[in-house]
C-alpha cells in the first residue's frame, strides 16, 4: 500500500479528461453513438466531500461508474482515473478488479436491490472482507460487527436477510459494506433518493462523520442541491455530459457564474425562502368542497401477524374549500396516499364520512359514483406511467369526455380538448393533439394527464406527489399550473407530498400526517414558524437547504439532540 505520507497535495481521486461514449452494441463502435461524458475533470482530496449535481441524463452516474470500471460493454472510455496518482483504467476492466472495494468503493442508489436477496447481510459483508484478505477468517465476524456499529446498526443485523431491513437500515448496511476494506474513495450514487427526509438526514450525517473519521474522499452524486449543500465542501454541476461549473459550495450558492447553476439553486426547495416565493393566498373563506370526517381505512393486504387493530388511516378529519390548496405532508407509509384513494372511492373504508359539496360519497350506487368521478379528479405521481403509450394526446384527453357523454359530437369535444390543453400550457394545442407519449417530455406528459383531468371541469382536484418524479427545474412549472387552476376555476386542490418545502411554498394550509393520523394542521406560515408538534419540527429540521450557511447550525443541532 502506498502511504499517504506523500502529502495532502495528492488527490485521492483524480479524473482527468474523461470521455465516455455509448454505442448501440458492443461491436458497433462506429455508427450511432452518444457522447455521454465529455472531457470531464474532477479532483477529490482525502477527507474531502464533493457533490456531483445534475438532472437525469446529465452523465453523472456514468461518470462514477466509469471510475469503478462498471460500464456496460457498449461503452468506450478515454482519459485517466487516478487513485493516489496511479491510473487504474489504463489496464481495462480486468486491471480494475484489484482496486475495487480495496481502494474505491461505492454505495448504490437502489439499496433495496443492491444486496443479494438470498444471503444474510453478515455473509455479504464478510465476503467483502475475505475476498480482499483484509482480516483473517476468525476476526472477520468481529470486524463485521464493528463495521455495523460504525454505521449505527446492532450486531443482530449480521444474521438478517436484506428483505428484513428497512430502507434506511439497508443503506446503512450498504455503507458498512462499502467501508469494510477501508477504501480511500467512496462513491455514492443518489444514496438517499429513495429515503424519507428524516432518514436522509441521518444517512447524510453518517456519511459526513465517516469521511472525517476515516479521511475518506467522498463523491456524492445527486440531483438534489440541498443534499449537496448539507453535506459537501465542493460541488460540480453537470449538464449534458460536461461540468459547467465547479467550486466551493458557498461560492456556488452566493455567486453562481453559470446560468444553469443559478436555475438549479432557484428551483431547489428551500424552507427559508419558501414563504417569500409564495404567490397569492386565497384568504377569503369560500364554500367547503370536500369534507373528510373520522376517516379510517384498514391495511389492504394485512398480514395475519401484524396487529389487526392498526389502521392505515386512523380517524382523519379535514376540509378543502373552493379555491384552496391544501397539502397533505408525511413520510412514506404514513397513510397519505391511502387517504387520497379512499376519497376517490378506490379503497374500501373502515369508518367515517367523505362529503363532496355536502353530498355523502361513501355509500353511493355505481351510477352516482360515476357522476362523482366527474366532480373529483386525481393526478398521479408518475408521468411516465400515467398515459397509455398507444393513445395519442387527443385520445387520452377525449376518453373522459366519451365516458361521461360530454360534448355531444366529435367537433365540440375537440374544442373542449383544445381548451384543456391550452389551459395546462401545451400551446399551440394543435401541435400536441396527434402526438404519442413517447414524443413528449416528462413535464409535458404530466400536463397531458392534468388536461385529461380538468377537461371534466372537476370541483376537487387530488394530486398525489404530482412533481416528485420530475426534474427539479420542471417542477415549479407544474406547481404553478396547479396554483393557477385553483384561482382561475375556484377548484379545491388536495396535494399529497413528502416535501415540506414545496408544501409551504404552494399550499394555503398544511396537514402533517404520521402513522395514519393528522399530527398537526395549520397555515403554511404557522407550520414553518411555530410548529407545535415535535414531529413537524423534526421534519422541518431534516429538509436539506440549498443554503450551505444554514447547514452548520443544523448539523450541530442534530449532534446535540
Amino acid at each position: 500500500m502506498t502511504s499517504s505520507t506523500a502529502g495532502s497535495d495528492v488527490p485521492a481521486l483524480e479524473i482527468s479528461n474523461l470521455n465516455v461514449w455509448f454505442g448501440t452494441s458492443h461491436r458497433s463502435s462506429k455508427g450511432q453513438e452518444s457522447h455521454a461524458v465529455k472531457a470531464l475533470n474532477l479532483k477529490v482530496m482525502p477527507g474531502e466531500r464533493v457533490g456531483l449535481v445534475g438532472e437525469s441524463g446529465c452523465g453523472k452516474t456514468t461518470t462514477i461508474l466509469s471510475a469503478m470500471g462498471l460500464l456496460p460493454s457498449t461503452a468506450s472510455v478515454s482519459g485517466e482515473v487516478l487513485l493516489n496518482g496511479v491510473d487504474i483504467i489504463s489496464g481495462g476492466e480486468s486491471g480494475m478488479a484489484s482496486h475495487r472495494w480495496r481502494e474505491i468503493a461505492m454505495v448504490f442508489q437502489g439499496a433495496m436491490s443492491a444486496f443479494n436477496p438470498v444471503k444474510t447481510i453478515g455473509w455479504q459483508i464478510i465476503e467483502a472482507l475475505r475476498i480482499h484478505n483484509v482480516v483473517g477468517e476468525k476476526q472477520s465476524t468481529s470486524r463485521a460487527i464493528e463495521l455495523l456499529g460504525l454505521v449505527g446498526l446492532k450486531p443482530n443485523v449480521l444474521d438478517l436477510y436484506p428483505h428484513q431491513l428497512s430502507g434506511g437500515m439497508k443503506q446503512r448496511a450498504m455503507i458498512a459494506m462499502a467501508i469494510a476494506c477501508e477504501p480511500k474513495v467512496l462513491l455514492a450514487d443518489e444514496p438517499t433518493t429513495a429515503l424519507d427526509v428524516v432518514i436522509q438526514d441521518q444517512i447524510l450525517n453518517l456519511l459526513t462523520s465517516l469521511t472525517e473519521e476515516l479521511n475518506l474522499a467522498l463523491v456524492l452524486v445527486t440531483h438534489d442541491l440541498g443534499v449537496v449543500a448539507q453535506s459537501c465542501d465542493r460541488a460540480a454541476v453537470m449538464l449534458g455530459g460536461q461540468i459547467v461549473e465547479e467550486g466551493a459550495i458557498e461560492k456556488l450558492w452566493k455567486n453562481p457564474s453559470h446560468e444553469y447553476t443559478r436555475k438549479l439553486f432557484n428551483s431547489t426547495p428551500d424552507l427559508a425562502s419558501a414563504l417569500e416565493k409564495r404567490k397569492s393566498s386565497g384568504s377569503e373563506k369560500k364554500a367547503t368542497l370536500l369534507e373528510v370526517r373520522d376517516l379510517s381505512v384498514k391495511y389492504e393486504n394485512s398480514h395475519p401477524t401484524t396487529d389487526s387493530r392498526k389502521l392505515a388511516v386512523d380517524g382523519v378529519n379535514f376540509d378543502v374549500r373552493a379555491g384552496e390548496l391544501v397539502a397533505l405532508v408525511g413520510e412514506s407509509g404514513c397513510g397519505k396516499t391511502t387517504t387520497v384513494q379512499a376519497i376517490m372511492g378506490m379503497v374500501d373504508i373502515q369508518a367515517g364520512e367523505i362529503r363532496v359539496s355536502g353530498e355523502d360519497t361513501v355509500r353511493l350506487r355505481p351510477s352516482a359514483r360515476k357522476q362523482l368521478r366527474r366532480s373529483m379528479q386525481l393526478i398521479y405521481q408518475d408521468p411516465y406511467e400515467a398515459l397509455d403509450v398507444r393513445f395519442r394526446v387527443k385520445d387520452t384527453v377525449e376518453e373522459p369526455l366519451v365516458i361521461h357523454g360530454i360534448g355531444g359530437n366529435r367537433a365540440s369535444r375537440l374544442q373542449l380538448i383544445i381548451e384543456a390543453l391550452e389551459e395546462v400550457g401545451l400551446t399551440p394545442a394543435s401541435a400536441f393533439l396527434n402526438r404519442f407519449p413517447h414524443e413528449l417530455s416528462g413535464g409535458q406528459r404530466q400536463r397531458v394527464a392534468i388536461a385529461a383531468s380538468i377537461v371534466l371541469r372537476p370541483k376537487v382536484l387530488l394530486a398525489d406527489e404530482p412533481v416528485s418524479m420530475l426534474d427539479v427545474t420542471l417542477r415549479s412549472g407544474v406547481l404553478d399550473l396547479l396554483d393557477r387552476l385553483r384561482s382561475a376555476h375556484d377548484m379545491g386542490i388536495l396535494m399529497v407530498t413528502h416535501d415540506l418545502s414545496t408544501a409551504i411554498e404552494h399550499a394555503d394550509r398544511i396537514l402533517v400526517m404520521r402513522d395514519g393520523k393528522i399530527e398537526e394542521e395549520g397555515t403554511s406560515n404557522a407550520i414553518l414558524n411555530s410548529p407545535r408538534s415535535s414531529y413537524t419540527r423534526l421534519l422541518l429540521d431534516s429538509v436539506p437547504s440549498p443554503n450551505p450557511d444554514s447547514k452548520r447550525g443544523l448539523v450541530q443541532k442534530n449532534l446535540v439532540s
Binding site: 458492443h26 460493454s73 468506450s76 397509455d388 406527489e465
Partner: protein, 315 residues
C-alpha cells in the same frame, strides 16, 4: 410502495407499446426465421391437396422403396408415396395444432384476465384450479380421457385445448396483475371507466403481443401432443397426420427394416415447425420482458479508446 417517494419509473419513457416491439422483433434473425418457417408450412399445407404428387390411398411404388427421383422421400410399407403423405399430414396436423392452440389461448386469456383484473377470491379460486391442471401430468390425463372417449381427431383437439391453457393463464394473469397497478389503468378507473371498457380499450391491446407469443408457443405444444397421442394410437386411425405417419411406420417395422425415410420426413417436419414457432414466440416474449434488457455481466468489457488529440472524441 413501502419506501421511497421517488422511485424509478418501471416504464421505458421511449416505449411505444407492445405492437411496436413485435414489429421490431421481426428484424432479429431468429424471429424472422421462425416467422418464415411458420409462413412456409402454412402455405404448403394449404396448397397440399394440389401439390402432392401421388395419391395417399393408392400404392404408387414398391413396399419401402427408398427415395428416388420419382419418389423424393421414398415409399412406406403400403407402397404409398411418403412426400404426399407428409404434405397431407401437415394439413391435418397443423389444423389440429392451430385449433387446439386457439382453444388454449381463449380459455387461458379469459381465465388470466379475469383472475388478474378482479383479484380477490376469484383470483384465488381460479389459480388453485390452474395449479391443479399444472401439476397433473397432462399427457397421462389426455391418454385417459382419449381412451374413455374413444379415438377421434375432434377429441384430440378438445383434450389438448382443454388441458394446455394453464401456461397462458398464468402468464396473462401476471401481466394483467401488474397492468392493474399501472398508473394509466388506475387513472382510467378514476376517470370513471367501467371494467369492460378498461379491459377492452386498455388491457387487451396491452397484452395482445403477449397473446400472440403465447399462441405461437401453444402451437408447439399442441402439435407435439398431437403426435404423441397419435403415436399411442389415440387419434383417428384413418386420419393422416404427422403423428399417425410416424405411428404407422413404427408399427409396420420401418425401424427394424431400417427404412428411415418412412419416419424422417414427418418427424423433421414436426421438429422444424416446432422450432420455427418456438423461435418466433420466444423472441416476442423476450422482447416484451423488460428484465432481459439489462445485463451487468456481459461476456464483453467496455473498451478503452486512445486519443491523440485528434479525432472526433478529442476536445
Amino acid at each position: 410502495m413501502t419506501e421511497g417517494q421517488i422511485r424509478q419509473s418501471k416504464v421505458d419513457p421511449s416505449s411505444r407499446g407492445g405492437w411496436w416491439t413485435v414489429l421490431n422483433v421481426l428484424r432479429q434473425p431468429t424471429a424472422a426465421i421462425g416467422f418464415g418457417i411458420l409462413a412456409f408450412f402454412t402455405v404448403i399445407s394449404l396448397l397440399s391437396p394440389w401439390i402432392k404428387p401421388y395419391s395417399t390411398h393408392l400404392a404408387s411404388c414398391a413396399v419401402f422403396e427408398p427415395p428416388s427421383a420419382s419418389h423424393w422421400f421414398g415409399c412406406d410399407d403400403g407402397g404409398i408415396d411418403v412426400l404426399s403423405l407428409t404434405l397431407e399430414g401437415g394439413l391435418i396436423s397443423m389444423y389440429v395444432g392451430f385449433t387446439a392452440a386457439t382453444i388454449t389461448i381463449l380459455i387461458g386469456a379469459t381465465i388470466g384476465i379475469v383472475s388478474g383484473y378482479f383479484g380477490g377470491w376469484i383470483d384465488t379460486v381460479l389459480m388453485r384450479i390452474t395449479d391443479y391442471f399444472l401439476v397433473v401430468p397432462q399427457l397421462v390425463l389426455m391418454i385417459v380421457v382419449a381412451a374413455v372417449w374413444g379415438p377421434s381427431l375432434e377429441h384430440v383437439i378438445l383434450v389438448i385445448g382443454l388441458l394446455l391453457w394453464t401456461y397462458t393463464a398464468r402468464i396473462v394473469r401476471a401481466q394483467v396483475k401488474s397492468l392493474r397497478e399501472r398508473v394509466f389503468i388506475r387513472r382510467a378507473i378514476s376517470i370513471g371507466s367501467g371494467h369492460l371498457r378498461i379491459i377492452w380499450r386498455h388491457i387487451l391491446p396491452q397484452i395482445g403481443p403477449l397473446l400472440v407469443a403465447s399462441t405461437v408457443l401453444a402451437i408447439t405444444v399442441a402439435v407435439f401432443n398431437e403426435t404423441a397421442l397419435a403415436f399411442l394410437g389415440l387419434s383417428d386411425p384413418t386420419a393422416i397426420t404427422w403423428g399417425t405417419i410416424m405411428e404407422h411406420a413404427f408399427q409396420r417395422a420401418a425401424v427394424s427394416t431400417g427404412s428411415w425415410w418412412a419416419i424422417v420426413p414427418a418427424g423433421l417436419a414436426v421438429a422444424i415447425l416446432i422450432m420455427g414457432c418456438y423461435m418466433l414466440g420466444r423472441s416476442i416474449e423476450d422482447a416484451l420482458n423488460p428484465r432481459l434488457r439489462v445485463s451487468y455481466l456481459s461476456p464483453y468489457s467496455w473498451q478503452l479508446r486512445t486519443l491523440v488529440g485528434r479525432g472526433k472524441g478529442a476536445l
